[in-house]
Amino acid sequence: MSQEENTIEEETAFQELPDAPPRRKIRFTISGKIGIFFVLFWIMMVLIGPYVAPYNEADFLDESLFIVPGGDEYPDTDYQPPSKVAYLGTDYLGRDTLSRILYGARTTIGISFVATLLAYLLGVTLGIAAAVGSEWLDMSLSRFNDAFLSIPTIMMGLVVIAAVGSTIPILIVMTGFIYATSVFRVARSLGQDVMVSDFVEAAKVRGEGLWWIITREILPNVVMPLATDFGLRFVWIILFISSLSFLGLGVQPPMSDWGSMVKENLGGLPYGSIAPLMPSLAIATLTISINLIVDDISAHSGGKLSNRMI
């Protein structure tokens, strides 16, 4: 980095040398780029999926579509292999797998995303409050959080759904709440780290109020690590909601979500049907991709000395 001209010293030949390396930009590896590709693909599908899907997610395909010349009048429509009629085959009820995956992207990703946002809203608010608040506030929030963390997530989900039923808003609020506990921990520790930094002290000694310190000094500095964490948390929430769907507690039919799709088509596995594999693949491409991106980002912020160990 070139230095500005030193205005006070005569010996301008010897400029002050830069001691901080120039800002590094995140560089994505091949796997990171693949990750970005898939994530962008799925974001696009969330937006346009239902419009490009060949059928409605709820449509039982007509039996006549599958008649082969000279064949049965009523051919099976379920677990059909991929064909011109259904590019990814059909599911156990003869619905188009591709269409259901495309519709399901919106449900699965949408619910998980909103739930993750909610978890962040709650977790970060409380976590930062615990980090900047009094010792007593921190202590009581932390103990409560520990207690909630100790309850197995899936059990918590089951009890809540048993108590209030399973609708999309409930699913989102519940998941958001359950995962807020772990966000709380992350936000609190990040907040504590920033809280003791000199620039926060500088703001304090200037007489800044808590709101300024939180919004201007702390939050901008925890955004990046939290964004990384957001990616991982999002993955876990997708998996969590899929697990709930697997236990029959997911979204209401005929809406499709990927977890339920795996569950309801498991019976096709022994027949060699790809119906349960395709939604699994959708989950896997999305979650692995997010992880790959997160890996690249964390590699950027963490040292890579180990790579050079001789």
Binding site: D76, T77, A162, P270
Partner: protein, 535 residues
């Protein structure tokens, strides 16, 4: 007509089975002949196996493992509160009843060696077996029968079949081995009702039912509710049945896991095979499907006492939108028959009303009725309580959406469904097992004011017919009455019955002699006493 075809088909199959059992036709001819009757190969295969088994003599020995579909910490050994197939199976190991529903729905004596009605069927006399002992060594006598039967009487009894005995005035002991049932009104079906699992005889004064102290073919060695139970042969059993040395009864709630367990040989018998997995079992070695035609069905209850169910047009719309043929074809994979919006399937034999035309899939009529109903959307509570019910509701939802009606499906867990949803939500799904007689089936579900009248359709004429039917002995008249009742339900109740499903169970080829009994899973849950294991 379809119905005639069904009846004829059943008769034909029975004669074919007999011919094969007698050795008059060979295996290939049997399969061919059955196939010609329009029966799917899988059903034909199980028919064949059942038929082949008829020809063999039972073998003693072996230990068998059976997995049911449902269980929980509320598994019961007290007969009068039993509600699930796993309970029923245990009931058939530990206890006996006065009478028993045997092979092909034939009523046979059990602890009562004779049962006779008076002329108008208002008093029934039961002569009891002598020399029968309970597992604890005590003798079986009339006192036990009186005590056991009295548990079903009274307003406060928890008996789940107390409705069956509402006309019983009194159980009377005549001598140590004779009892009489004195009725308020005639009931020609009483013995059939006594064949129910809940009516098993227990030792008088029993308080701890977990020991399963009955006169039955197996003793309970351990019973862990929600986990499993172990049973060993009762060596002092009073008749020559009970072939296994030991039985383990457990449950695997996940349908796929249950099928895997059968195929992998971990289980010899599994109940309630999902229609989607029948093909898998049929294509696997060493196991087969035992598919029994039954009156079991899954349907939709539209409560007639609340909106929107009390709107007749809505119900009609729902009935016309049922693509019954496709449900049987692609959801049940042929292991069932179309329903006609009433509970009596062809499995009830002569009591089924062949004359009543089956309502056909007709979107236009459905649309017309729904338009007239004034509703454009409704919410239906669905739990997987019966094979195919969830899927058929999805098909219905899809077909309704094509005619502009928005049916919202609210999926709820099976567990807790009966307490929280059934008979409470205005539109809900239901499943009914087959009952021993058409009358008891119609009475329990459509008798006016009955506890389980789940559409709240209280029809005076229905009540009269049920009562008259019990007193009627002329078969033709009875059939006419049944027909009228089925037509009433078909036209005016809030019941949508699109299909009846077979009882589909998975069976290891080693297990032989499972009775043909449509009243419950795996030979109406009576297999423990009659089936046997090949060496």
């Amino acid at each position: 007509m379809k119905e005639d075809k069904n009846l004829q088909q059943m008769k034909d199959i029975k004669s074919l089975q007999q011919m094969h059992a007698d050795g008059r036709i060979n295996r290939r001819d049997f399969m061919k002949a059955v196939g010609a009757l329009g029966i799917t190969i899988s059903v034909a295969g199980s028919l064949l196996k059942a038929t082949e088994a008829m020809a063999k003599t039972p073998r003693k020995g072996g230990s068998v493992r059976m997995a049911s579909n449902l269980h929980g910490p509320d598994d019961q050994m007290d007969p009068i509160v039993m509600t699930s197939n796993i309970d029923y199976t245990r009931a058939h190991t530990a206890y006996n009843g006065l009478v028993q529903m045997r092979e092909n729905m034939q009523l046979k004596p059990e602890l009562a060696e004779e049962f006779t009605p008076n002329s108008d069927a208002t008093v029934w006399t039961f002569k009891l077996q002598k020399g029968v002992k309970f597992h604890d060594g005590s003798n079986f006598s009339a006192d036990d029968v009186i005590w056991s039967m009295n548990r079903h009487l009274g307003e406060k009894t928890p008996s789940v079949i107390k409705g069956f005995f509402s006309q019983v005035k009194e159980w009377k002991k005549i001598d140590s081995h004779t009892v009489k049932a004195i009725l308020n009104s005639p009931d020609s079906d009483l013995p059939a009702k006594l064949s129910e699992k809940q009516a098993k005889i227990v030792k008088q004064g029993t308080t701890d039912f977990k020991k399963g102290n009955g006169t039955g073919p197996y003793r309970v060695t351990s019973f862990e509710p929600g986990t499993k139970s172990l049973h060993v042969r009762n060596e002092d059993y009073w008749r020559e049945t009970a072939n296994f040395d030991a039985i383990e009864i457990t449950a695997i709630t996940d349908p796929q896991a249950r099928v895997n367990a059968l195929i992998a040989g971990d289980m010899h018998l599994i109940s309630d095979v999902d229609a989607k997995m029948i093909k898998l079992i049929e294509s696997s070695n060493g196991v087969h499907i035992n598919s029994t035609k039954s009156g079991r069905y899954g349907g939709i209850c539209c409560l007639k006492n609340t909106a929107p169910g009390k709107n007749d047009d809505l119900v009609k719309g729902f009935q016309y939108i049922q693509d019954r043929e496709r449900i049987v074809r692609s959801i049940l994979k042929g292991n069932g028959e179309v329903g006609n919006d009433h509970p009596i399937s062809t499995a009830y034999g002569a009591d089924h009303c062949y004359e009543l035309p089956v309502r056909q899939y007709d979107p236009d009529k459905a649309k017309w009725h729904l338009n007239r109903s004034g509703y454009s959307s409704a919410e239906l509570y669905v739990a997987e309580v019966a094979t195919g019910i969830g899927d058929s509701c999805l098909l219905m939802q899809n077909n309704l959406s094509k005619i502009g009606f928005d049916l919202k499906i609210k999926k709820v867990p099976t567990d807790g469904y009966w307490g929280a949803v059934w008979m409470k939500e205005p539109l809900n799904v239901v499943s009914w097992n087959m009952r021993p007689t058409a009358n008891s089936m119609l009475d329990i579900q459509f008798g006016p004011g009955r506890a389980w009248n789940d559409t709240f359709w209280n029809n005076e004429r229905m009540g009269q017919l049920l009562k008259m039917n019990l007193a009627e002995t002329d078969p033709k008249m009875r059939h006419e009455m049944f027909c009228e009742m089925q037509a009433l339900i078909n036209m005016f109740s809030g019941m949508v019955v699109a299909y009846h499903t077979n009882v589909n169970d998975g069976v290891s080829d080693k297990i032989q002699g499972i009775p043909v009994n449509p009243l419950g899973s795996i030979g109406g849950c009576t297999w423990p006493e009659f089936a046997w294991m090949e060496a």
